[in-house]
Symmetry: C2
Subunit: 135 residues, 2 copies
Amino acid sequence: MPGTNLDFPARLRAAGLRPTRQRVALARLLFEGGHRHVTAESLHVEVKTAQMPVSLATVYNALNQFRDAGLLREVVVAPGRSYFDTNTGHHHHFFVEPDGALHDFPSDKVTIAGLPAPPKGTRLSRVDVIVRVRR
Amino acid sequence: MPGTNLDFPARLRAAGLRPTRQRVALARLLFEGGHRHVTAESLHVEVKTAQMPVSLATVYNALNQFRDAGLLREVVVAPGRSYFDTNTGHHHHFFVEPDGALHDFPSDKVTIAGLPAPPKGTRLSRVDVIVRVRR
DNA sequence: TGCAGTCTTTAGAATTGTTCTAAAATTCTT
DNA sequence: AAGAATTTTAGAACAATTCTAAAGACTGCA
Ligand SMILES: [Mn+2]
Ligand SMILES: [Mn+2]
Ligand SMILES: [Zn+2]
Ligand SMILES: [Zn+2]
């Protein structure tokens, strides 16, 4: 992660969030390695395993706040479960159907041509491409 | 709907489903007009309004069975709610963010080039393009 | 047409993922 | 360190969906 700020308290402050013990622990898990796709439940298990117990409500709060602050993006691929993505740049996803695994792929090689104009009175917000694959 | 079979009992039988009173009523609502996007809840309200009460559990059962039989396809656009689509042909969607409205657009004018190969050991299943727009 | 066998429907309970509540704990400012 | 504001937390509440098991409906075959 070249150019990534590893001073998590500072990054949280910059995002308008108090660098609490819990938020710093979660930010470390989320942002100090490569890009990740997590669910609230998977991150909660992880933070417990790392001997840093954080309540499930706090995990949900933090994920929603991080998303609202632009630190994460939410990816909707399966009904009834939200994935949060530490990669906030332009990219798309492979979704492996039975397991629920998500893989990034860069959007810069992908060209989408011929998209119709947005319905009247609306502005484009984002184009999501989900390539569903099965084993 | 040219070429569409309006004999719902026959269509259900062809799909391997007994043409019960409830399934026929739901199929009529779903398939006798143009293409539609429904949720279990919205279809349940509709069938109640049409004076043919069907339990919510049956609406869920029927939507899942119709999907498994290829009569419907499930579209995942928002966390925590499933949309079912009577258009099972190749097409993509506009999703209007605050209201949750879905609009089809044909995929034949849209070209997606440069998609990477599926991850090792997987086969392509479907490519979903969701164009998110806001007012 | 009558039955038996199988499948379906249903109400309500259960489950799952997520949000809310309000009291206790922490963080920030001075 | 004190006071004010924010955050955390356990548990309750909620929303969408699935499950349970008993009652009802459909079908094939007499
Ligand atoms: Mn959310
Ligand atoms: Mn389902
Ligand atoms: Zn991603
Ligand atoms: Zn559609």
